[in-house]
């Protein structure tokens, strides 16, 4: 029910991994909402996200601000990834003042998101909690691979690609940053955190 909810990882990693989404409610406030989304986009992007995207344009690593603003529709949703709670609090404060009446959702460690809300003078409205992965979990890849692949909740990051990258890097082939960006390009929404991915790739190579 949500593509930014089930990110796996150590608490110390997740504490610096915030995903932000804004969209209109179809049938409620979607008419001419693209203009509001553009304004929200322009406010949030000032806070230097590590990745961002508009769903019809793709992530910034395959698109541009101009293209995203041009493609913005009344049913678009926009995403941003941040590594600092202060930045989240900063744009939430601005959005509260601007009062666009558009929904904004922040994924992250709930206690950290709560603190950001408090700094911005907001109260959490509704929380979606992850009850974990159930069922035939023997089919899942190892935990470290999941830390990377679950950063695209739509499941577009291939576990085999991650494993191949680790093998390459271990053999001295490829570049950590380039591989992390290549992974980020596969996530259409722009919610993949390439900085985290780079660190995880390094850890996976060191651990093998």
């Amino acid at each position: 029910m949500t593509h930014s909810l089930h990110r796996k990882g150590e608490p110390s990693d997740l504490n610096r991994d915030f995903v932000v989404l804004s969209m209109a409610a179809q049938g409620f406030n979607n008419v001419q909402s693209a203009d509001k989304l553009r304004e929200i986009f322009n406010i949030i992007v000032k806070y230097e996200p590590v990745n961002y995207g508009e769903v019809f344009s793709g992530p910034i690593f395959r698109s541009s601000n101009e293209e995203m603003l041009k493609n913005m529709k009344d049913n678009s949703y926009i995403h941003f990834v941040f590594d600092e709670q202060e930045k989240v609090a900063g744009f939430l404060r601005e959005l509260k003042e601007a009062d666009y009446a558009m929904s904004v959702v922040v994924s992250g460690v709930v206690e950290e998101v709560k603190k950001a809300c408090e700094k911005a003078g907001l109260n959490m409205h509704t929380v979606n909690f992850s009850g974990g992965i159930l069922g035939n979990t023997g089919r899942l890849p190892e935990a470290s691979v999941l830390e990377i692949t679950t950063m695209c909740g739509h499941g577009l990051i291939s576990a085999n690609l991650v494993k191949q990258m680790v093998l390459d890097l271990k053999k001295g082939r490829g570049d950590y940053r380039e591989y992390a960006i290549d992974l980020a390009k596969q996530c259409q929404c722009g919610i993949f955190n390439p900085d985290r991915a780079e660190k995880i790739l390094r850890r996976m190579v060191d651990d093998q």
């Binding site: 409610a25 019809f56 709930v110 959490m124 909690f129 499941g155």
Partner: protein
Amino acid sequence: MYIDQEKCIGCQKCLNYCPVAAIEYSGRSKDQKAYAFINRDECVECAVCYRARVCPTDAFVQEALDWPRILRSAFSDPFNPHKGTNVPGRGTEEMKTTDITNRFPEGTIGIGLEFGRPGIGLRLKETEPVIRRLLESGIKLEPCNPLTELITDENTGQLKTDAANEKVLSAIVEFIAPLEQAEEVFDIIREAAQATETVFSLDIVGKVSADGSIPVMQEVEKAGLRVAPNGKVNVGLGRMVAK
């Protein structure tokens, strides 16, 4: 999606990009050139291979899809808005806009069973047993959800026959129940976890009360479930202007 065999040079660069490992390799032989091909039965039409642009000869071809194969793309490629809901991604707004829609009012628990996630996929028919079990318990599934739209029998939860075998990256069984029914709901979820051949990610949604508490969490604790420290928070900016 298919790979133009005339163009493919068998370099294998594309193989690992497929999230469900549906791109296969012919191997080399004296009699024929090596090439990659897509296992059409396993392919979920997510278009990752096409958009990755790793093919040096642009051999991937994204064709127009007919019913029911088009469901694979609708449930797997976030670029496509669902026709019924006009929402891209998995086609549901869930709690993202509840500050405007009041989709999850106080006294309720929201549940999402994200079948196929993370990264395993499913045949749509794999959701039928849990849908049937929920309907038997009087639970109504979220109507603005693309999977609910495929149900043809509201008593048995049977999906459209020609849709049932389509393979997709994920499909979400989504519903809202009274908080008093939470225990029964969690029992059904445990049964589903035992029975399914695939995986599902469990979403548990609760409104924050005026005093800052989240009543849904009391039910979660009572059921002996554990939730991750990270979650998804609607910060209430949509509520600030009345509908």
